[in-house]
Symmetry: C2
Subunit: 281 residues, 2 copies
């Protein structure tokens, strides 16, 4: 007997992972949440049948959603994380001693509680004194948040289908802009440019973000457990260009050890393939 977790990457493509044990399964008020122990990826969890993080490669995603923005704007003090229930984004942010406060707004408390139980290495930072954890709808939260109250907003959400949907609307991006300080930055997880249905979502989100922020770019990473392995992040900024205005020497001086991100890769991540640049035109 063998047990396989199977994920639909598109109508005609499936990605399957051999499972040692199905550790947990529940229907939260927002989504279906499953935790597995696998042979190749260690422990992982999925929401509505899509892998969110695995022990093996969560470092790629969390490196890339945090460090590029921190390198571009080293004086970030106040951060808003929307989503990010597994805690990996907060864990990476906490490595910067210059950050004074992290507000984290996760819609689904069950994701946090289950990750605290099953992914202690990822969730470890959530109880830090600099972290203010709230269980609320991110869209509603930014509507009510004060003007210019954050230097960085990270949208670490699920895809534009399901509970993450509102985080890909122009209303949401406009409120992020308002809530960000004068040279604030918004980073969000985007989609893959590879499969048509992902790409269409990506183009739609990118168009909206471009309508709001003067600087809006995408950057990429290799995340083999996400559809196609070619994953994009959005970088939107009021003033600073992530390639032209970055001082990588300064970031290097911090001496942070990172398993994926590094100073050369910062530039490389923004060097998109021609076909991706065409989509985002």
């Amino acid at each position: 007997m063998s047990l396989w977790y199977e994920e639909e990457w598109s109508g005609g493509t499936r990605f399957s992972v051999k499972i040692k044990e199905h550790l947990h399964s529940e229907q939260t008020p927002f989504q279906r949440l499953d935790v597995y122990e696998s042979w190749d990826y260690g422990r992982f969890f999925s929401l509505d049948g899509y892998i969110m993080i695995t022990d093996k490669d969560e470092f790629v995603y969390h490196d890339m959603i945090v460090h590029p923005a921190m390198a571009v704007k080293p004086d970030i003090k106040k951060v808003l994380v929307i989503g990010g229930g597994d805690g990996g984004t907060v864990r990476e942010l906490l490595r910067y001693t210059t950050i004074e406060k992290i507000d984290m707004v996760e819609i689904d408390e069950r994701v946090v509680r289950v990750c605290q139980e099953y992914f202690p290495v990822t969730a470890c930072g959530l109880t830090d004194s600099r972290v203010n954890l709230m269980f609320a709808d991110g869209l509603v939260f930014v509507r009510g948040a004060q003007e210019a109250s954050y230097d960085l907003i990270i949208v670490d959400s699920t895809d534009p289908i399901g509970p993450g949907e509102g985080l890909f609307t122009e209303d949401f991006y406009r409120n992020c802009f308002r809530v960000l300080s004068a040279d604030g930055i918004l980073v969000n997880q985007n989609e893959s440019p590879y499969y048509d249905h992902n790409r269409r979502e990506l183009e739609r989100a990118y168009k909206k973000i471009k309508a709001v922020f003067p600087i809006a770019l995408a950057y990429q990473a290799h995340i083999p457990t996400y559809a196609s392995g070619h994953w994009l992040f959005g970088f939107a900024s009021k003033q600073r260009h992530p390639v032209e205005d970055v001082d990588m020497e300064n970031w290097k001086k911090l001496g942070l050890e990172t398993k994926y991100y590094n100073s050369s890769l910062h530039y490389g991540a923004f060097a998109l393939p021609t076909f991706v640049k065409e989509y985002l035109k």
Copy 2:
């Protein structure tokens, strides 16, 4: 009823593609060769159960195995291609009018004939007058080849298991070095750094190539139909450094339209994640 092609990416991971039609299947003297029509990737073929090229993303692989070296050394005149039976590498090389001669040494004539029938867009260049197509063992061929007779060698082979095995030996690399001109370049398809069994092959090949060439680096691309989607190429050179000694302005002047490769991506491809750099140390 639905038909699925299933590939083992590792013992605990499978990648499955929904098939419209199994167009061709044969056991050649060297390997099992299958051609399929799929929903997501158009037509593709596999050797011994591993996808070689698909209509959807062959451009990534062929852009990346050819253009970086051509940008680094624009005066390349004589090229040796080992493997490359589908013809995509030759097709990209032929776009450079400065190339005078391409010797192509493919061990398996059946791969060429089947690709000429099923992948005319990829195989189109194989009948060009500048191409000298030979069916022979690449390892034996380079042993017998004249000193300094090529400016560029491209090893477009299968993985280090099966008929491609000899193309990952130090004997082979030493002969490539001998056969290359004074500032010649060797490019080979490597492996993924992601799964342990791939990574071990990668480390082994890289160590051997480093023992022979003064400059030996790896660069990466997103190829979603290869295991993990994170694929590496080896760049070995007698003199020219692919990042420090490249004149991208010169390459841009050629005006080649490429769907993946571009002048910024050239640098980005060599900017490897930290964990990959550690493996290659």
